[in-house]
């Protein structure tokens, strides 16, 4: 027989006690995807749900900076148990790579992703939020292939450049028959409704339009301040009306 990678056989078992699995994704980088993923996870936890946050942007992770993660390490117990950070079961490659740059090519991204999905013991969760890398590369394709029940939430900015890439991503996900919760428009500079209209043309729900908030930068690493930002408030509403 050909050599078999045994790891993929246990992935859905590891996630068997997880309720909804939501991949927060975008066509392009720099649209606030990690902020949406983090504030969504915090909003769900604030409602009393058990929530995990998994940073899958392996080459440019940032959720640990948003949360202000310091000096936490996963524990070993028949796998890897994510540490609890601000009420979230938190997993990131940062636990293992520290602040070193981890230059990973596609095959390495797939391997690291499969490894962490196969060995992470999430336990019982109501929600697992995944912060995806931008685009439609290996991580998105692997997550769709390996994680049954995956749903996507897509983030864009008002820029046509950003939405063009969203359109491609939506087409791919629709071809793969992956459910899409809807689209969040972030960093709005005016009241234009173009993204909302374009989203509806794609047959998707427009979840919210978030105005550009200059306070966000000062809230990085401080979740008390983060909870007062426009983005956190609006994502809380999205969580209340579209997710829980």
């Amino acid at each position: 027989m050909n050599e078999v990678d045994p790891r993929t056989t246990v992935i859905n078992k590891r996630l068997s006690r997880t309720g909804r699995i939501i991949a927060v994704s975008s066509g392009k980088g720099g649209v606030g995807k990690s902020l949406v993923a983090t504030t969504l996870a915090l909003a769900l936890a604030q409602k009393g749900c058990k929530v995990g946050l998994f940073d899958l942007d392996f080459t440019s992770p940032s959720t640990h900076l948003i949360l202000g993660v310091k000096d936490v390490q996963p524990k070993e117990d028949k796998g890897i148990v994510p540490p609890l950070v601000k009420g979230l079961a938190y997993m990131s490659l940062i636990h293992f790579s520290s602040d070193q740059a981890a230059p990973l090519r596609g095959a390495d991204v797939s391997n690291a992703l499969i490894e962490l999905l196969a060995v992470t013991q999430w336990g019982e969760l109501d929600f697992l939020v995944l912060d995806m890398p931008p685009g439609i590369g290996d991580a998105v394709l692997d997550i769709v292939r390996l994680v049954k029940r995956i749903e996507f939430l897509i983030v864009t900015t008002p820029s046509r450049l950003s939405f063009k890439t969203v359109r491609k991503q939506v087409r791919l996900l629709q071809d793969l028959k992956v459910p899409i919760i809807g689209v969040v428009e972030n960093m709005k500079m005016n009241q234009a409704k173009q993204i909302a209209q374009e989203t509806e043309k794609l047959g998707l729900k427009f979840l919210t339009g978030i105005a550009y908030d200059a306070q966000v930068e000062a809230a990085i690493g401080n979740i008390t301040k983060l909870r007062d930002t426009t983005i956190a408030k609006q994502i809380r509403e999205v969580a209340a009306s579209n997710i829980t």
Binding site: M1, E3, V4, D5, P6, R7, T9, V10, K13, F58, P74, E76, D77, K78, G79, I80, L93, F96, S97, S98, Q100, A101, A102, P103, L104, R105, D108, V109, N111, A112, E115, L116, A118, V119, Q121
Partner: protein, 132 residues
């Protein structure tokens, strides 16, 4: 222990293959472990023995080790991974996720972190011998 999760994956994959091949009993399971992941052999073997289901009760596990070959993508230099050159924390990080080797190991010839793990990464199921 992390080895338990990997052992569970081996058992699950073995069972799936046995079901597909309609094997009534499994006699031998051949597993290859790449040096890079530094799997603790005794813990892994113990976990396999504890996790094996009835269909595997008479199975013996044959575990071989594959040396880890790394090849620089910049200068094409090829070299073997050597755990002794790593500090304890780095070795442990690579044990959990072998790909983080890219954050710590550099080509000994040109210093590039852009290398390929040619062979000897982690756990592979090589062969299963059973009776139909």
């Amino acid at each position: 222990m992390h080895e338990w999760a990997l052992a569970e994956a081996v058992i699950t994959a073995t069972q799936q293959i046995a079901d597909k091949e309609k094997l009534k009993e499994i006699k031998e399971v051949h597993i290859k472990i790449g040096e890079l992941q530094q799997v603790e052999r005794d813990i892994f073997r113990f976990a396999l023995s504890q996790l094996k289901p009835t269909s595997l009760k008479n199975a013996t596990f044959h575990i071989s080790t594959a040396k880890t070959t790394l090849k620089c993508r910049v200068c094409e230099h090829t070299w073997l991974f050597n755990k002794r050159k790593l500090d304890e924390d780095t070795a442990e990080a690579i044990h959990f996720v072998p790909e983080v080797a890219h954050a710590y190991i550099k080509c000994p010839k040109c210093g590039s972190p852009d290398f390929e793990i040619v062979e000897g990464r982690g756990v592979w199921l090589e062969n299963i011998i059973g009776v139909r």
